[in-house]
């Protein structure tokens, strides 16, 4: 028989690490998270927000220039009619996957560590989808005609082709955005109430009050609220998986060699989660350091996310290899040629290997615990993944289109300054929106983090 202290000693090794360190209480959590909104922003916030705003103006300028001049200001031409625009669309929409994944799938699987990262990740999702939506909108050429995508009666009595994956995509992306906004907002209501209750009477209090809808945190409200949140999570889970599947149908249902593969939907979904988590870490590690959130965003959180990155990165690597294998095994000479030109002899071989290094080789570092703990390594690998996932979309789109069936249709695509400025500008918009989010809204879900503290269990007694 072991003594009581002995048992406690033994249990310590087995027990889970606490999700909030240093034994912080409710008050500390409220003050720390609301403090980010209430206190003056540090210099580094201005260094992100101001250039972000200026780059957003660059984006606006390029869009005006594009609309007033024509879509020919992009480097697109036959045979490459999809270039950086669709690459950036898929890139941003992919980043937009981690947020709802963290909110929904990790909620259903009861991964309580999600509470510290879900709010910021959901915000990131929304802003990434905003950035994504710009590209196909302007890619149609005449932006003022995009309402033709919506199934509304028009003067020509023409209806959309619902059999087309491009229309499925319109529904998938707009549904995803709308549902993500609803999910994010419902999650925000209790925290907006916290901000409301801390404000002095005035405009700020009125605004937070209006958006908090008069939330009173009564259990008669919470029980329906929790059910609503659970249902949204349950609905968003298949939704997350469907969005990038539908995006991949844009490619997979065509007869273009290199696109016409059945592995695309799961491969795109894994890639999206992979890229999304890398972006979450890229944003949250600096935020954690700047705003002193170490007790809520613990090494355990970072460790878990890096593990997801190595898992999904390896799935993506498997998909890359499987594409090559099926090209060889399928015996279709066009398919073989497409992959030969992608990997060995084509004009974009460099981008394929950049993708391979960034997406498959670099994340393997996360098998080593030291690399998962060292934030410099984590940041470097995440930057690699962010880059690599952009290259992946570029490889899929440009290398494939550059080599059509007949050599007479071969071409080479280079972006013009307009595309480059739009790409940089969309990053500016993303950073600007994220900076505004940090400035005005609680970036960690206050009520959810409080709910995972040990003293939040009604059967908790500190004597144990």
């Amino acid at each position: 028989m072991s003594t009581q202290p002995q048992v406690e000693q033994d249990l310590r090794g087995v027990a889970r690490e606490p999700l909030v360190l240093s034994g912080r209480d409710y008050k500390w959590i409220t003050n720390r998270i609301c403090g980010v909104v209430e206190n003056k922003q540090p210099l580094i916030w201005w260094l992100v927000a101001v250039p972000g705003a200026l780059l957003s103006l660059v984006l606006l300028f390029t869009l005006v220039y594009l609309v007033s001049t024509g879509v020919g200001v992009w480097g697109l031409n036959q045979p490459i009619a999809w270039g950086w625009d669709i690459t950036n669309f898929v890139f941003w929409i992919g980043i937009g996957h981690a947020g709802t994944l963290i909110s929904a799938i990790l909620f259903l699987t009861r991964q309580k560590w999600r509470t510290s990262v879900n709010r910021a990740a959901e915000a990131m999702t929304l802003f990434a989808v905003v950035c994504a939506g710009i590209y196909p909108g302007f890619h149609v050429g005449r932006f003022w005609m995009v309402w033709f995508l919506a199934p509304v009666p028009n003067a020509n009595a023409i209806w959309q082709n619902f059999k087309s994956p491009l229309l499925w995509d319109v529904f998938a992306v707009s549904t995803y955005f709308t549902v993500s906004v609803i999910f994010w907002y419902i999650g925000l209501i209790p925290d907006l109430a916290t901000l409301r209750d801390r404000c002095k009477p005035g405009l700020k209090k009125a605004l937070y009050g209006i958006f908090a809808l008069g939330w009173r945190g009564g259990n008669r409200q919470w029980r329906h609220y929790e059910m609503g949140y659970l249902l949204l999570a349950a609905l968003s889970t298949p939704l997350v998986l469907s969005v990038h599947s539908v995006v991949s149908f844009d490619f997979a249902t065509s007869v273009v060699p290199g696109w016409h593969t059945t592995i695309f939907p799961p491969y795109f979904v894994a890639g999206a989660i992979f890229g999304g988590f890398a972006m979450v870490l890229t944003l949250m590690i600096p935020c954690r350091a700047i705003y002193g959130l170490h007790d809520m965003l613990t090494p355990k959180h970072i460790d878990n996310m890096t593990k997801i990155i190595v898992l999904t990165g390896t799935i993506v690597g498997y998909a890359y290899l499987m594409e090559l294998f099926i090209a060889f095994y399928g015996g279709n000479p066009f398919e073989v040629d497409a992959f030969h030109m992608r990997t060995v002899s084509g004009p974009y071989v460099w981008s394929y290997w950049a993708m391979m290094f960034c997406n498959v080789i670099a994340p393997q570092a996360f098998w080593i615990p030291w690399c998962r703990k060292n934030l410099v390594v984590v940041m470097c690998v995440c930057m690699c993944v962010n880059t690599g996932m952009w290259y992946e979309r570029f490889v899929i789109i440009a290398t494939t289109l550059a080599r059509d069936f007949l050599p007479g249709q071969w071409g080479y695509y280079e972006p013009t300054w307009v595309e480059i400025a739009m790409f940089v500008g969309s990053h500016g918009l993303f950073l600007f929106l994220f900076a505004m989010f940090i400035r005005f809204l609680p970036m960690i879900a206050i009520s959810e983090v409080k709910g995972v503290l040990p003293q939040s269990d009604p059967h908790y007694h500190p004597a144990h």
Partner: protein, 188 residues
């Protein structure tokens, strides 16, 4: 129970009682229920696990409404797609027929609209059920009450409760462990 102060008429709305820990408010909620109160609530910074049971509340019925919302979404999508693709504007493209058997091509949009309609149903029916938004509530007049969004746990009892008594309820709240009790009044 109306008293005239200055030129405003105030009416007792009820009591709010403050508790320090989730465990103590949980026990107090059980006592409230056993004490026979009906128009009362537990306000907490986060949902307390097991509180529905302690208060004697059943599971939320929201899911049933949402099921109907989702069904409406599926039907809308199918009507929209069959109506336009088979009825109004049939096109034979992509090797797919323009009759009933084109349905596999309609699955993605049907799926998306099911989710979309369900999500809107969740949002709006949730707001209706929990009676939000509202711009003001007598509880916001209380000094104790706003602690609920920080680190306090609040039990509120309405004067409309049949068991409510000006002195008896205060004593009862103190006896079940309330740290502070405050009378809340509303302006008429």
């Amino acid at each position: 129970m109306s008293v005239i102060t200055e030129d405003k008429v105030k009416r007792t709305w009820g009591y709010v009682a403050e508790f320090d820990t989730a465990a103590s408010v949980y026990e107090a909620a059980k006592a409230m229920r056993e004490g026979g109160y009906r128009r009362w609530d537990v306000h907490s910074p986060f949902p307390i696990h097991g509180m529905d049971g302690a208060m004697g509340l059943g599971p939320s019925f929201l899911s049933r409404i949402v099921f109907c919302g989702g069904l409406a979404g599926s039907l809308t999508a199918l009507l929209l797609q069959f109506g336009t693709q088979v009825g109004l504007y049939p096109t034979i493209v992509q090797g797919k027929p323009d009759n009933l058997f084109t349905i596999p091509a309609f699955f993605p949009v049907t799926f998306e609209l099911t989710i979309l309609f369900s999500a809107f149903t969740i949002l709006f029916s949730l707001l209706v059920i929990i009676r939000l938004p509202r711009l003001h509530h007598p509880l916001f007049e209380s000094k104790l009450f706003t602690g609920f969004s920080d680190d306090k746990f609040i039990i509120s009892v309405e004067a409309r409760d049949p068991k409510f008594a000006r002195e008896g309820t205060r004593e009862f709240l103190q006896s079940i462990g309330a740290k502070q009790v405050e009378l809340v009044e509303e302006e008429l």
